[in-house]
Amino acid sequence: MKKDLVLNVKNLVVRYETEDGIVKAVNGLNLEIERGKAIGLVGETGAGKTTTALSLLRLIPEPPGVEECGLMELDGLDMLSLTPKELEKVRGKDISMIFQDPMTALNPVFTVGDQIAESIHLHEDVSYTEAQRRAIDMLELVGIPGERASDYPHQFSGGMKQRVVIAIALACRPKLLIADEPTTALDVTIQAQVLELMKNLRKKYQTSLIMITHDLGIVAEICDEVAVMYAGNIVEKGTLEDVFNRTKHPYTEGLFNSIPNIYDRKAMLTPIKGLMPDPTNLPEGCPFHPRCPYMDEDCKKPQTDRAISDTHFVRCSAYDRPGFHINRKEK
């Protein structure tokens, strides 16, 4: 059966050519997202999650950024062949993004109503008055009274601002929404509200979602699939059950091991040893091998994706060894 893909990316490479060297931020990433599905993109800071997101919007600043890609289709539309003018029509309409820090994501000198209405006015054939009216509807949809549309961002709290950012992102009912750590900058109590809101709106609008986070709890809450990123590539991807219960990649295992155990508060955390590799100087082969407890010589050779099941793949050559398994038990 052919999958109904909203996003199909093959061999995405992004690097930043700086004076201090070439930063290899994303290295040959493949990503498929089915319509209406939510995928969690998980990884440490510096794994290339945000760069991946920005490159999907074709918003990598060039220079210093260089984006190369074998294939990038958004709902069948070839994103790589679009002119800058055509890209402007796609951004905010078919694909939109929620940014990490709501405190800085809104323009301080325009009212929130105008900032939402701008997106509607740009992409839909309506008058500005009509766009403003719809902006008020959007505000109410994210739980802010409509009369606050004429207020400025400094009059809102962090959680309210993030609601406004969500309203902007969803104003034109995009096919794909990218949320870049949307709750990281918020209080824990507000985080839950914002997540709940996103979950409901996504259901309502049938929007596909890429949820970028380093919080596995959020992924379990919101996503259908998980992709684990390390040093600019996806090392393991599968459904929630695949990745959480039948973990295959040693890095994913390390991530789970470093979650505090709430049933045993005295238990020591087991962090992953070592540090993320320097993106200007990645190790040969699997970039995780210097930190990997299962490392052998083959890990220094180029890696390929290995299918575990229809929905699950892992990028780890250790599975060439007969009888290899990681220590984490399947559930």
Binding site: E88, R91, F99, T104, P108, V109, I168
Partner: protein, 309 residues
């Protein structure tokens, strides 16, 4: 907002008092005596004393100062000692020319500096950035009388397109406005560039781009409005300065502005005229800065919120 404006108006009073005090006393310290200069060579001591009384220059310094301030409160800046006419009349005869030149030059400066500063910021560290910064330095450091002379040589003498001086008609303002505007543009370009550079890296511009706003609108709408505060500040003080006349340029282009008037008043020891002119400059400068502060509120809602507290 209204309360803020009233408060600012009241704050002008101590400023004007201080300025008038300093100027009046400094003028008194300046060497030279106008009565001695104006009296006929064969005048007797008694005649000179009578002249002094007639001109209102008798009595001790504090006495004269209080007399002057009493008249000032009534809007009377006194009589010019050398021209025997009210200072206020003389000033406002010359002021329109200064006003024209000030606005003409600031328009020239804006047309040059804002696009140039923005281009320099959006092409940071490129050849365009370098070229515009060199141009700005040139504008800042070139003596304006020299630039004025060069422009006269080119456009008046060689090409014969524009008049070399005077102030009749639109054509005559072009060269002085460009000369003064070039100097102002240097500073404004640098401020526009640095202010834009700060804004251009902000997250909210990425939000705007992600919404599908075109690059041009991202820069000229979303970024520029945020970068305006320092630009308006420099713009205001530049305009305020220009309202005080530009002596060198008025001289080169024989422009009948208040700058030359003030200098000639000082040269002829016409203290009432010089003091009056300087007090008028102070009033116009503080008014301009008040307008700048009001403009802040329209640009940045956060400042407006502070004003209404």
């Amino acid at each position: 907002m209204i309360r803020y404006i009233i408060k600012r108006f009241l704050m002008m009073i101590p400023v004007l008092l201080a300025v008038s005090f300093v100027v009046y006393f400094l003028m008194d310290l300046a060497p030279g005596d106008i009565v001695g200069m104006m009296a006929p060579p064969d005048a007797t001591e008694v005649e000179i004393e009578m002249m002094r009384k007639e001109m209102g220059l008798d009595g001790t310094l504090p006495e004269r100062y209080f007399r002057y301030m009493k008249n000032l409160l009534k809007g009377d800046l006194g009589m010019s000692l050398s021209m025997k006419r009210p200072v206020i009349d003389i000033f406002f005869e010359r002021f329109p020319a200064t006003l024209k030149l000030a606005f003409g030059s600031i328009i020239v400066a804006m047309i040059i500096s804002i696009p140039l500063g923005i281009a320099a910021a959006t092409h940071h560290r490129s050849w365009l950035d370098g070229a515009s910064m060199v141009t700005a330095m040139l504008g800042l450091s070139m003596p304006s009388f020299w630039l004025g002379l060069l422009l006269i040589i080119l456009f008046s003498l060689k090409l014969g397109w524009l008049p070399s001086g005077g102030s009749d008609g639109f054509l005559s303002i072009i060269l002085p406005a460009i000369t003064l505007g070039a100097a102002q543009a240097g500073n404004l370009t640098r401020i526009t560039r640095s202010s834009m550079l700060e804004v251009i890296r902000q997250d909210y511009l990425r939000t705007a781009r992600a919404k599908g706003v075109s690059e041009k609108k991202v820069i000229y709408k979303h970024a520029l409005k945020n970068a305006l505060i320092p630009i308006i500040t420099i713009f205001g003080s530049t305009l305020g300065n220009a309202l005080g006349g530009a002596v060198a340029i008025e001289t080169v282009f024989s422009w009948p502005g208040v700058g030359r008037l003030t200098v000639s008043a000082i040269n002829s020891r016409d203290m009432t005229l010089a003091t009056g002119c300087i007090i008028m400059f102070t009033i116009f400068f503080t008014l301009t800065m008040l307008l700048v502060d009001i403009a802040y509120a329209y640009v940045d809602p956060r400042i407006k919120a502070q004003y209404s507290k």
